[in-house]
Symmetry: D2
Subunit: 344 residues, 4 copies
C-alpha cells in the first residue's frame, strides 16, 4: 500500500514536536509538509534536536495548494486558526484532524462564550466528529473532519464513561480534580510558566471556569443521555508531562465496579484498567498513548473514586490524533503508537 501523504500546520509547539516524533516512526505514512510562519525555512531538527536524523523536513510557509495534495492534514495551531482555513481543504477533498478546540463543542454559542470569538465555520462544527475513539470509533472511520479532544477532557471522560453509560452514579455533583504537567500550557513565552515560577510548587488554577469544562460536560451528558453537573478543578504539577484525574461520584447503584470497567474497556487498545487496589502513576504512560485507570470504593462508602492517567501530549493530544488518523485512513489503530512508556 502506498504511504499516505500527511501535513502538519503549525508545528512549533509541544503538540507539534510530539506529532513529529510519533509520525517519524509510523510505518504507513509519509510526512510531506510542516508549516510555520515564524520558523519558515528552518530545519525541524534544528528547533527540536531529538528529531535530528529522523525528520529531514524544514518548516515552510503555509500554502494551501501543497496542503491539498495531502491525504490528511493535522492542525496544531492556536484556537481560532483552523476554523478559518479548513473549509477550503475539506472542499478540496482533504481530511483534517484539528488538535485545537475549534470544532469540539457542538453548541456554537457556548463555544463562542468560552473562547471569546465568533465562530466562522458553524456548519463544519455540525459535521465534525469528536475524536475520542472510545466513544465514536465507527463515525471516525469515515469522518472528513475530526475534532481532537482536550487533554483534561480525555482523562476525565475515559474515567467517568462506564459509570455514566450504566447509570450507576448520581450525575448531579460529579467532581473532577485534575492535575497536569506544565507542557499542557504550551511553548509560548510567559512569566507564569517559567520554571522559576512553577518549579517546586503546586497550585490550582482556573477554578472559576476553565475551557475544558463545557467539553467534559458535553461528553458526560452524551454518555449519561442526561444533563450532568460537574465541578472541574485543574492544578499545575511541577513536572513536564502527565495528567492525573481524580474523579468522584456518588454511587446510586452498587455494582461490581472493577468488572464494569474491565468489561467496558476490554477491547480498547489504549485503555488499561489496572487490578483492584492500584494507584496509576503518570510515569507509567509517559510517551505512550495509554490511559490507565483504577477504580476505588473507599471503605465501601457512598463515593466512588476513579484514578485516570494519560500523557497529556500523547493520549491527550498528538497520540490520540494519530489514533484518529489511523482510523480515518483504514490503518491499524495501533500503528506508530506501540512504544511502551518510558519508566523511570
Amino acid at each position: 500500500m502506498a504511504k499516505k501523504k500527511i501535513a502538519i500546520v503549525g508545528g512549533t509547539g509541544y503538540t507539534g514536536v510530539e506529532l513529529l516524533r510519533l509520525l517519524a516512526g509510523h510505518p504507513n505514512i509519509e510526512l510531506s509538509v510542516i508549516t510555520s510562519r515564524s520558523e519558515a525555512g528552518r530545519p525541524v531538527a534544528d528547533l527540536f534536536p531529538n528529531l535530528r536524523g529522523r525528520i529531514d523536513l524544514s518548516f515552510s510557509e503555509p500554502d494551501a495548494s501543497r496542503l491539498k495534495r495531502c491525504d490528511l492534514v493535522f492542525y496544531a495551531t492556536p484556537n481560532g486558526t483552523a476554523m478559518k482555513q479548513i473549509p477550503e481543504l475539506i472542499a478540496a477533498g482533504c481530511r483534517v484532524v484539528d488538535l485545537a478546540a475549534d470544532f469540539r463543542i457542538k453548541d456554537v454559542s457556548l463555544w463562542e462564550q468560552w473562547y471569546g470569538m465568533p465562530h466562522t465555520s458553524p456548519a463544519l462544527v455540525k459535521e465534525a466528529v469528536y475524536g475520542l475513539p472510545e466513544m465514536n470509533r465507527e463515525a471516525l472511520k469515515s469522518a472528513r473532519l475530526v475534532a481532537n479532544p482536550g487533554c483534561y477532557v480525555t482523562a476525565a471522560t475515559l474515567g467517568f464513561l462506564p459509570l455514566l453509560e450504566q447509570g450507576v452514579v448520581s450525575v448531579e455533583h460529579l467532581i473532577a480534580d485534575c492535575k497536569s504537567g506544565v507542557s499542557g500550557a504550551g511553548r509560548g513565552a510567559s512569566v507564569g510558566m517559567l520554571m522559576g515560577e512553577v518549579g517546586e510548587s503546586f497550585k490550582a488554577y482556573g477554578v472559576p471556569g476553565h475551557r475544558h469544562l463545557p467539553e467534559i460536560l458535553q461528553n458526560l451528558s452524551i454518555a449519561a443521555k442526561h444533563k450532568v453537573g460537574l465541578t472541574f478543578v485543574p492544578h499545575l504539577v511541577p513536572m513536564v508531562r502527565g495528567i492525573h484525574a481524580t474523579l468522584y461520584a456518588r454511587i446510586t447503584n452498587a455494582v461490581d465496579f472493577q468488572a464494569l470497567y474491565e468489561e467496558r474497556y476490554r477491547d480498547e487498545p489504549f485503555v488499561d484498567v489496572l487490578p483492584s487496589g492500584s494507584h496509576p502513576e503518570t510515569r507509567s504512560v509517559r510517551g505512550s498513548n495509554e490511559c490507565r485507570l483504577a477504580v476505588h470504593h473507599p471503605q465501601g462508602g457512598e463515593i466512588l473514586v476513579v484514578l485516570s492517567v494519560i500523557d497529556n501530549l500523547v493520549k491527550g493530544a498528538a497520540g490520540q490524533a494519530v489514533q484518529n488518523m489511523n482510523l480515518m485512513l483504514g490503518l491499524d489503530e495501533r500503528a506508530g503508537l506501540d512504544s511502551p512508556a518510558i519508566l523511570p
Copy 2:
C-alpha cells in the same frame, strides 16, 4: 525572663531538622538536649549542614533524667514511641508536645485499628489537648500534653472549619483531594520514595484508607457538632515541601463565603485568607508557618471549592509544634515563627 529549657527526642528526621531550624532562631528558648539512639555522639550540624554555626549540640542517647530537667520536650519519634515514654515525663512535671500520632485520636480503639498496635497510655489520650490553636487555643495554654496534628489534617481542617462551624454546607459527602510534597513521607530509606521513583511523576496513594482520615473526621465532627462524611484522597507531588488541599462541599446555605472566612480567621496569626479569585501556591508558604486559603464558588453552582496550602514541615509539623510551645509557655505566639516564606 530566663530562657526556657527545651529538649527534642528523636531529631534525625525531617520534622527534627525543621524543629532545630526554627528553634535556632527562637529568642526565648534554649535547646538543651536532642536525642537519637542511632546518631548518639554525632554533632547535629554534621547530619544537617544547614545548621553549621547555629546549633552546637550533638545527638545524645535518650536519658529520662536529663529530659525531666527541661521545661518542655518535643517528641519527633515514630508512632508508638511517645506513648511509652511520656507518662514518666508528665509525672515529673515536664510538658510535652508529641509530633507523632499517639495522642491525636480520642477514640482509643479507633486509633488501635488504624495504627495497628495496642495503646499503652489511654488515660493520657483523654488528657491530651489536640494542638490546633485555631480550634483549641485556650486549652493549649495550660496543657501538659499536646498532640500535634497531622500535616494533611491541618490543611484540610483549616479549610473546612468555617463552613462546618456555621453549618452552611452538607456534611454528608465532603471531599478532600490533597497533594503533598515528598518530605511528608519522612527520611527513612525506601524504594518507593527514591527520586528515581517519584521524580517527574504524580500519583494518588492510600485511596482505600489513610491514617489521617479518622483524624480529619474527628476535627470536622467537632466543628460541625455532628458526624460528618468525608472522602480523603492523598497524592504525591514531585517536589520536596508543601501541601495543597482542594476541598469540595455542597452548599446548603449560600452566604458570603469570602466574608465568612475573613471573619473567622481575622485574628489568627497564621491563617491568611486570600482575596476573592485567588489560587494559593505552595511556594507562598515554603518555610513559613502560614496557612493560606482561597474560597471559590464556581459558576455560582451548588459546590463550594476551598483551596488550602501549608508547608507540611512547618504549619503541618514543626512550626505548629513551636506555635503550641509558645502558647503553653506563655510566650508570644509568633515567637520564632516570623520569617516570610521563601519565594521563588
Copy 3:
C-alpha cells in the same frame, strides 16, 4: 538608633522579592520606597504573596526626589539603568548598591564590549567599590557606590581566592565549571526558561563567552596580583535556587590546603569551610547568605578541586547586597541575615 531609610528601584524580579524578604526581617532599617514602572500602584504583597502581612508598601513610579530622602538605595534594575540614574542620587548624598552589572568592571571598554552599550558614567565606575566583603571589607564601609557582584562570580571567586592570594597554583589554566538553578535567569518571559523547556533536563550554555567571565577574571587577577587564564562554563540545573561551582587548578606548591582555607576564612561571617572530604549541597545554603566550600586533592595528584555553593539569590545577589548595606551603614554585618538555610 533611628532606623535607616531604604529604597529599592526595580523590585519586580527575583532579586527584588529576595531583597524584600530579607529587609522585612531586618531590625535596623525601614523600607520607604519600592519603585516599578510596570507595577506602579500595585501592593508588593499582591505580586509576591509570601510577603503578605510583612510588607505593606505598594510599588510606586520612580521619583528621584523621594529616593534622595533615603539613606541607601538598592538598584535591582536591568543592566544599563543604574548608570543613568545613580549620578544624581550620589550627588544628592545618597548611597547606592547596584545589583546589576553597571559598575562591576573597572575597564570601561571591556565592559562596553561585553554588555554591548556605551557606558554613561565612567567616572563612577572608577569610584565604585566592588561589593565582595571578603576582598574589600574596609573600602565598603565608606563607599558611596557599591557594585554588587554577579552570582557565578561570587561562588567562583570565593572558591579560588585563597589559592591565588597564596600563589600555590598555576594561574594559566584555571577552570570554573559552574551550575545554576533557573532563578539566576530572572523573571522575564522567555521560551527558553519555561519549565517545559528546562525541567528534567541539563545543559551548558554560553560556552563561547558569558558576561561573568571578565568579572571573575578581574577578581582573580587582583587576588593573584597577576593576569590569570580561566575557562568558565555555566550550566543550567533543573531546580529553582542554588549555584555550585566546581573549580580546578594545577598545584604548583603543595601546602595543607584544608588549613589554608580554614585560615583564610576563619573570621568571615558568611564563608564556611567544610571538613575535609565533604561535598556541599546547594540546599545547605538555600535561603541563607552562606558560601560553603570544600577542598579536595584527588589521589594526591596535580589537580586541586574546590567545591563552592551559594544561594544565587542570597549570597549571589540580595543577601550580599544587604551584607554590603550593613557594612556601609555601620550596622552589624550579620543583621537581617541570620536565618539558617531551609533543608530539606
Copy 4:
C-alpha cells in the same frame, strides 16, 4: 530468520526495566527468561506497569539450565555476581553481555582495588571485549563475552576520543566534569537517594575517587596510545535521566576540531556531532541511544571544551547493551533502537 532467544539475569533495577522496554520492541529477538531471586513468580508488568500488555513474562528463579538454552544472556546484576556465574554459561556456548563492572577493567589487581573484592574469573577478563562499538566494533561481532561500559565512561570516552586518537591535546591534565540524573544510582533503597534528599539540590560526590575513573583512564590511554592523566568529578542532578559530561583539554595542535569530530563519527549510527556553537541538552537524548556532542573553543584560547550528553539508562547502559547484542548476533546495529528521544 528465527528469532534469537534472550535472557536477562537480575531484571528488577532500572537497567533491567530499560532492557525490557527496548527488547519489547525489538523485531529479531524473543525474550525467554528473566530472573530475579527476590521477585520470582511475580509478573514483570506488575513491578513495571509501563510494560503491561508488552511483556507477559514473570520473574523466575535463576536456573542455569534454562539460561544455557538462550542465544544470549544479559547480566543486570550487582557487581561481583556475573563473574561467578558466567563461566558456566560461556562454557555451554552462551554469549553474554555483562552490564555490571566485572569485566571492564583489564588490570585485575586494579579492579580488585576499586571494587574491593577478589576477582573469580581473571581468564575471562582477558577474553572479554569492552562493549563500546565506537572503539571495538569488529571485535564485538565475534565476542563471547562483552563488558558493557559504565554510563559516565561512555559519555566521557566518546567526548575525548577524537582528540586523543589524533594527539591534538595534552594528555596530562584532562578534566571530566560530569553530571548525572538520579537513576544512575539504581533502584536500591537508600536515604541518600530519597527525593527529599536530592530534590531541588545539586552536589558533587565521590571527588576523592569514583569507580568509573580507572575505566575512563583505560579507554583514554588506549585511544592516546599513552598513559593519560584525568581528573573526574561526578555530580548529582535533580532529574531522573541523563548524563552531561563537560570535558576540558589543553590544545597542543590547533586543528579544525569541528571537522575532526564530524569525520570521526560520520559513520557512527548513534553518535551525533552537533553544529558548531551548539549546547546539547540531556532531554534531546531521553529514552534514545544517541550520544550528542558539541565542540567549543572558547575565545580561541588554549582550552578545548567538549559537551557530551547521553541517556544514562540507554547509551549509558541498556541501549548500548542492545547495540552490542545486535553486533554479536549479526543483526542490524540499529534494530530496536530507532525511537527518537522524548522531548519535552
